[in-house]
Symmetry: C2
C-alpha cells in the first residue's frame, strides 16, 4: 500500500502526529479528503487517535447538501464522530474573492469546533499538486522566499496546529488508489470551471509547463521545501538580530540602532526591518520591494523622513525609527 507508506513517511518526516493525538479532519468529500479520512481511520488504532470528521457546507452548489450527507455516511461507516455546519457563503460575498470568503468561513468553523471540543490539531488534505499550484500562483502574483514556501506540512495558527499529511502525494495517485480500492468520492464541479485563478493555473498553465519539463511538479515542490528551510533559517537569524538592534519601543513605534543595522548584510537588514514592521503594524501588507529599497538607500543619509503606506520611517543620527500610522 504505497499511499499508506507515503502518508506515514510524511507523518514521520514532518513530525505531524504523536500517539493519543486528538485530530480534527477537514473533509469536503473530494478525493483528497476522502483518502485522508480512510488513511486516518486505518492508523487510528495503532496511533490511539481520537478523530473528528468535520464538514463545512458552503451552500454554493446544488450538490452541496448531498455531499454533506455523503461525508456523514462515510464517517459513520468508519465509526468516526461527524460535525458539520451549513452556511450560505454566497451571502457573505462582498468585494473579496468568493474563494477567499469560503476559505475564511471554513477556517472559522474549524477553529470553533477545535475550541469547543478542546482539540488542538487540525488535519487538511492538501496534496503536492496544491503546493505546486500555490508556488506557481505566488511566482505569477509576485512573491519573495516567504511566498515560494507554498503550503507548509505543519503550521501553528491561533494556538492550533494545522497538519497536511498528504503533502507528498500527487492527486493522480490518490485517485488511482481510490479507484483500486473502489472508494467513492464526490467531485467539486467548480474545479472544472476557469472561475478561480488557481483553476487557471491548474488547467492552462501547468499542462503547458509540463510539456516543457515533465518533471515540473517535483521541481516546484522542491523549490517550495527549499524556500521553507531558507525562510525559517533567515527569519530566526533576523529575530535574534532584531533583539540586538532594538533600542526603544511604544505602542506604535520602534527605535532601532542604526549603526548596528548598517553593519548588517543588506539582506539581513531587510529581514530585520520586515520583522520590526510586522511587530508594530501587524503585517507588511502594501509594503513592497521598492519601499524597502527606499529605506536601504536612505540609511547612508542623515535626517530623513520616508513616508510609506501607513508607516513613517525616520532616520536621525544613529537611530532608525519606525512609526505605524492608523490611517
Amino acid at each position: 500500500m504505497e499511499i499508506l507508506g507515503k502518508f506515514l513517511s510524511a507523518v514521520k518526516r514532518y513530525s505531524l502526529l504523536k500517539k493519543k493525538d486528538k485530530v480534527i479532519l477537514g473533509i469536503s468529500g473530494g478525493p483528497d479528503s476522502v483518502a485522508m479520512l480512510h488513511l486516518f481511520s486505518h492508523i487510528k488504532r495503532e496511533f490511539k487517535l481520537y478523530l473528528v470528521c468535520v464538514h463545512f457546507n458552503h451552500g454554493l452548489r446544488k450538490e452541496a447538501d448531498e455531499e454533506e450527507i455523503f461525508v456523514k455516511r462515510l464517517a459513520d461507516s468508519l465509526n468516526i464522530k461527524f460535525v458539520s455546519e451549513r452556511k450560505n457563503v454566497g451571502g457573505f460575498w462582498e468585494g473579496n474573492s468568493l474563494e477567499q470568503v469560503a476559505r475564511n468561513l471554513r477556517y472559522d468553523f474549524f477553529f470553533k469546533v477545535a475550541n469547543t471540543l478542546k482539540i488542538k490539531k487540525i488535519a487538511l488534505a492538501h496534496t503536492k499538486d496544491d503546493v505546486v499550484e500555490t508556488v506557481l500562483m505566488r511566482v505569477i502574483r509576485g512573491a519573495g522566499i516567504q511566498g515560494l514556501r507554498g503550503i507548509l506540512p505543519l503550521i501553528k495558527l491561533k494556538r492550533k496546529t494545522f497538519i497536511r499529511p498528504l503533502i507528498e502525494m500527487e492527486k493522480e495517485e490518490i485517485i488511482k488508489w481510490l479507484k483500486e480500492k473502489k472508494i467513492e468520492y464526490r467531485v467539486d464541479s467548480s474545479n472544472f470551471e476557469e472561475r478561480f485563478f488557481r483553476n487557471k493555473i491548474r488547467l492552462n498553465i501547468l499542462p503547458l509547463l509540463k510539456k516543457l519539463n515533465p518533471n515540473i511538479k517535483n521541481n516546484l515542490f522542491n523549490l517550495a521545501r527549499l524556500s521553507a528551510w531558507n525562510y525559517d533559517f533567515v527569519t530566526k537569524l533576523a529575530y535574534k538580530e532584531l533583539e540586538q538592534v532594538r533600542e526603544e519601543e511604544g505602542k506604535d513605534f520602534l527605535i532601532l540602532n542604526l549603526e548596528r543595522l548598517k553593519r548588517l548584510h543588506p539582506f539581513l537588514f531587510l529581514q530585520v526591518l520586515r520583522l520590526a514592521i510586522e511587530e508594530i503594524k501587524g503585517d507588511t501588507r502594501r509594503l513592497d520591494w521598492r519601499h524597502f529599497e527606499k529605506i536601504l538607500e536612505a540609511i547612508s543619509k542623515k535626517n530623513i523622513i520616508i513616508d510609506l503606506p501607513r508607516l513613517i520611517v525616520e532616520i536621525n543620527a544613529s537611530k532608525l525609527t519606525l512609526r505605524a500610522l492608523s490611517i
Copy 2:
C-alpha cells in the same frame, strides 16, 4: 532621455563603471546591444572610457556577414575600435544545445580579446526581459535560490568582470527609443522561431502569464534581485561556517567536524555541504535535492557510507568525510 537615466542609475546602483575604465562591449547588432553601444558612446567622454566594440559572427544565418559589416560601420561612425571573429558555430555542434555551443564560443572570444588587449571589463546588453525569461526557465527546469537570481548585473568570471548596464530596461522601451532616435539595428530572425527553450518561454509562456498578471515581469525581476541578495548573504555565512567545521583535507577529500555541523540549522548545514562539495568536485552537478536529503537523514546515524554521483559521503563518530570520485 529616460533610457540614459536608467542606464546611469543601473551603473550607479550596481557600481558597474568607474572613471577611466577600459570596457569591451559585446555587440551583436540587435536592438539591445546597438542601444548599449550608443549609450556607452554617449558617456565615453564624461567617464573618460576606453571602449572596444567586439562582434562574434556565429556564421549560423545567412544575414550573419551583413550584420558584422553593420556593427563595424556603426562602431566606426561612433569612433570606437572594432574587433570581430567569424566562426562556423554549426560545425562545433555536438550533443549540446546549439545555443549553448554558440554561447561558449562567444565567451571564449570575449576572454581572448580581453586578455590580448589587457582589458578586465566586458559589458553585455542583457535586459530586464532576459532576466525575467531566465528566472522563468530556471523555475521550470528546476532551481534553488541560486538559479532564481537569473542574470546578475555584475559577475566576476576568470578574472574578468562582466557588467550588464541595461539590466533594468525592458526591450520594448529600448526599441521605442531606437525608433524615436531613428537608430538602425538588425533583428535576429531565430528569435521568432520556437527553436530554443528560451524562445518558447518568451513567445508562449510569458504572454500567457502576462494575461494573468500584467505586472509579471516586474515580479519576476524583483524575485531575481531578492534571490541574489539572499544567496549572497547565505553563501557568505556558509563560507565562514565551512572554515569552522573544516578538520582535514586532501586533493580529493575533505573531513568536516560532524558535531559542529549537527548544531547548525539544517538549511545552513546544506549550504556548507554544497560549498564543501564544490570545493572538492569543482561543482555540484548531478547532485540534487534528494541527495542532500539523504545526507541530512544520515547524520543522526553512526558509521554510514552514502554513495552519490561521483561522491562518497562517510559518517563515522564525529566526522563527516566527503570523497570525490573521478569516475
